[in-house]
Amino acid sequence: MSWLDIFIRKRPSAKIARERLSLVLAHERAERIGNDVIARLREELIAVICRHTKIDKDALKVSVEHRDSVEVLKVDLVLPPGGLRQAGSGA
């Protein structure tokens, strides 16, 4: 603080609040949408895979990972004993 401060108009704090909020809300909304997409993808993947082979639905993991500067969609599925052969003739 210096005596010069009395001549400098302080920035209204409400303006700062608004800017901070609009940033954080945009970020959190984007994340929410991302999670919704992953959930939908997962359900559809399960449906497709189940047309061809029997799987434990909880064994399918879908996630997005950040590696260096790219995003990677990771789909992880451990097949039940017998693997794909168990599928028989499929659909």
Partner: protein
């Protein structure tokens, strides 16, 4: 058709119960048969705010568990026979609140011919809050003009859009309304507080009401009277406007400009 309305916020202490009590009373005053339900299991408070705490015999969980029937548990408001209160349980485990039980109670209220079921949500995003919004047709999001309350309100909107039955079934989405409480027009105009337009634009849902900060709110809770009945006070009039807008009336926002009511107006009414 019975409409289910959840009053929710995410953050605690922003005025959910105060708003639920005034909103439900306002609907009842306009002739709507209204039930207001406290979903805050273990932390019952709606009964105190509505001044009926000594007449609560059975509660929400008693009804769900079959220890009492709904008509025994509903407490009729002494000021308005259109308003009934279902208190939260103060003693039972909150795990006792289950979706099936809530649905059964709502179905019975619908059969009893209630126009509105107002669900006073607990703070947070746990079971009680999720069940309060689960069956909602409309949602009233309560927030203060304060960063953490606004952020939590936005989080709550996201939860309504994904966890409500309407969202899950792909029905018409829950109709959302914004109520801003503890508003101080003078500070907002000086740039010391988020303005109502700021909050509305950030959350991007229609504004139903702006309730000014008022000493009357504490006085009303001391006495067990809903704020909307504090005749003539700005907060009461703001709640009355909010109810009118909810029912489709067009009312301009009051108490947002920070200018004091002129003396002649205060003396002669207006």
């Amino acid at each position: 058709m019975t409409q289910v309305i959840v009053v929710t916020s995410g953050k605690g202490g922003v005025g959910k119960t105060t708003t639920s009590a005034s909103f439900a009373s306002g609907l009842a005053m306009r002739g709507k048969k209204t039930a207001v339900i406290d979903f805050d299991i273990g932390l019952r408070n709606l009964d105190l705010i509505l001044g009926c705490e000594r007449r609560v015999v059975y509660d929400f969980i008693n009804v769900i568990q079959g220890d009492a029937n709904l008509s025994q548990a509903l407490v009729r408001d002494k000021r308005n026979e259109n308003l009934s209160i279902l208190a939260a349980s103060q003693t039972k485990d909150k795990e006792a609140l289950k979706e099936e039980g809530v649905k059964t109670v709502f179905d019975q209220l619908k059969d009893m011919g209630f126009d509105y079921i107002v669900c006073d949500s607990p703070a947070g995003i746990e079971t009680g809050a999720l069940l309060a919004l689960r069956f909602a047709d409309q949602a009233i999001i309560v927030t203060n003009p304060e960063v953490s309350a606004v952020r939590d309100a936005d989080r709550m909107l996201g939860i309504i859009d994904s966890k409500s039955l309407r969202a899950e079934k792909g029905l018409e989405p829950v109709k959302e309304h914004l109520v801003i409480t503890r508003y101080m027009p003078k500070r907002a105009n000086k740039g010391e507080m988020l303005g109502h337009t700021d909050v509305q634009e950030l959350l991007n849902i229609p504004l139903l009401g702006v309730i000014p900060e008022s000493e009357v709110v504490l006085e009303c809770s001391n006495q067990g009277t809903p704020v909307i009945l504090a005749n003539g006070s700005p907060a009461a009039r703001a709640y009355d406007d909010m109810v009118a807008r909810f029912l489709g009336e067009d009312r301009p926002l009051k108490f947002v400009n920070g200018d004091a009511t002129p003396l002649w107006k205060r003396l002669f009414g207006g």
